[in-house]
Amino acid sequence: MVEVLLVILAVVYFARRARGHGPAKDPLASLLSGAETAGIITAAQRDQLLAYASQHAPPASAARLGGAAWLGVFAGLFVVAGVSLLIARNWQEFGPMLRVGAFLATLLVVGEAAIRMRERSYGVSVPLELLWFFLPLLGIGLYAQTFQLTGDPMQPFLVWLALTAALAWLSPRPVVAAVHTFAMTAVLFAGNFVVDAASAILGNGRLAPRSMLVIPEGGATPLAWGLSFALLAAIAVQSLRLLPRSHRHHFIGVAAAWVFCLLVAPTPFHVAHPAWIILAALALVTIGMVATTWLDTSVEERAPGMTMWLGIIYALTFTWHMRDPASGAASGTGVAIIEIAFVAAIVATLLLPNQRLSPQPAWALGMKAALVVPLVLATLYLGDDMYLVWLAAVGMNLVLLVVAVGAMWHGSLVHEPAQVNLGVLVLVALLITRFLDVFGSMLQSGIGFIVAGLLLAALSWALERMRRRLLAGVREVPA
């Protein structure tokens, strides 16, 4: 009881405090006022800049989601989940006519309310928009339940996505567009690679018809290919036109992941040879990284590719444990795709404008080398000679080491603390991993852990000193 009272008092206090402060100050207005006070611009220029910004800058609500919008998103999702469970309960006592009528009435009320509230508060309009967005899917489920419909497992989702595409384009906020784009991606991957495989694994006696999106080993139908490419195109167009500016190029990664799944899933392009899979993963992720770098995309758009690339090379540092050369079946078309991706990755890296990587040409060339070398090293896994495989593993360790040190060094040169931090993170992760990786028995491990701990403490101290010196250097450089 006391806790509840305290919570209420806290809420009232913060609400009054927020009201007392009035609306949040516009940071641009504050900045320009400061500039005017400092004599950098005149009062007239300040007013002109503010007028220009009010006309040309996107409204804050459309550009990004604040706390209220996120609460609205979760409110909408909670209501959707609740409606879904209510439908799943299966109200058998109500006849089909009543169910259909109730659904149509609900759709009408929610849709009309969403339209009327669209320009008002997030707390109401975002949940209503999301509810309207999901209602067609819930309606399809309700009709299937009411009329005992059995059919293609992906068709309801495709119909839902088609019905709600216009809503994603007409919404003044990116919430519905983002959820719709994510749903298209999920349907694409689930329909192509997951649903049928899961059905086969879980048994079920093949009761459900095969998904119209499935790409089986025996060859997909023209409809499956057509729908898959249409979904990929829709994901790309919708990402470019509707998603927030810093997330518009994630579709490049989606496309690369889709090609990779074509290669590793049981499709006509199936490849079960680990070395070819390694080469495919590295080539595709390199293409994705080069593409996002070429397009000068945001950090958010480049981070997944960079993380994936580092993750693959990190995983390959363990291949010194391999005792037998890689082997496995690989379809001719799959190998051809990987070879094309390999060549494309190297050519694209070499053609990438230097200034996209670094303002200093020598560093740009070094980064290109860092992208190409793992690809070349990965070809060593294709051979039968284990010494070449172990050489590749050592090479991957060296690549990570060079990338880590290079990131710290380059970050200090171009005043990018994020690069310095990334380098520190990669280096420490690599060192810890190798310390843990090379020790075997309890005696060795015990001594190894103690020595490693002491070395890491010393290294941490040295790295922190170096990092502080570098970051201090960054701050001291005049603008």
């Binding site: 005992q148 216009a166 459900a208």
Partner: protein
């Protein structure tokens, strides 16, 4: 600016209204048959509360359906249903399940008996759209398995089947040999 959204809402309402109307009327006053079911194990654990059903006519070879060398995958077949020889005792009295008595890859002539349409999948499996019976949260049928129930199916003039009910058998059928 709200006009396009109102048009979209009207389109949604029209879509679900028309579809709901079609579903409400498509199986009125049509032939009703009983179909024996076969055990299916395991049940689908992912898709909520429904009884998964399999029928003898699910396998093309078991009903003498010649689908050609290419398997006719994705094609539509029509299976003629006739009342079988044996009655089954159920909770609602004796019912006579229908059995597959013919198969055609072309639509049958009108008035040539009761036919049900199915789509051919890989391995000669035919699905008829009557493989799931959704049941309520507290319905005792939720614990039923295919083979322990008889399915009541309506078949309309377009040869589309729709599950109307499941009735528990008093003596469950043993699993059929494939």
């Amino acid at each position: 600016m709200t006009t396009p959204l109102r048009i979209l809402l009207a389109a949604h309402l029209l879509f679900f209204g028309a579809w709901g109307g079609q579903l409400l009327t498509s199986h009125r006053d049509v032939a009703v048959v009983w179909l024996a079911t076969e055990p299916v194990d395991p049940r689908d654990l992912l898709s909520g509360h429904y009884v998964a059903l399999r029928y003898p006519m699910t396998t093309a070879t078991r009903i003498g359906c010649d689908l050609g060398s290419d398997g006719f995958v994705g094609g539509m077949v029509f299976v003629r249903l006739e009342a079988g020889a044996d009655a089954i005792q159920t909770a609602e009295g004796y019912v006579v399940p229908s059995e597959a008595a013919g198969c055609s890859t072309t639509p049958p002539l009108p008035g040539s008996g009761t036919w049900i349409a199915g789509r051919v999948d890989t391995g000669g499996v035919i699905t008829y759209g009557i493989e799931r019976m959704f049941v309520g949260e507290n319905d005792p049928l939720r614990q039923a398995t295919s083979g322990s129930v008889v399915a009541k199916v309506a078949v309309n003039d377009n040869y589309e089947g729709r599950l109307l009910a499941l009735v528990t058998k008093h003596t469950p059928t043993a699993p059929a040999a494939e």
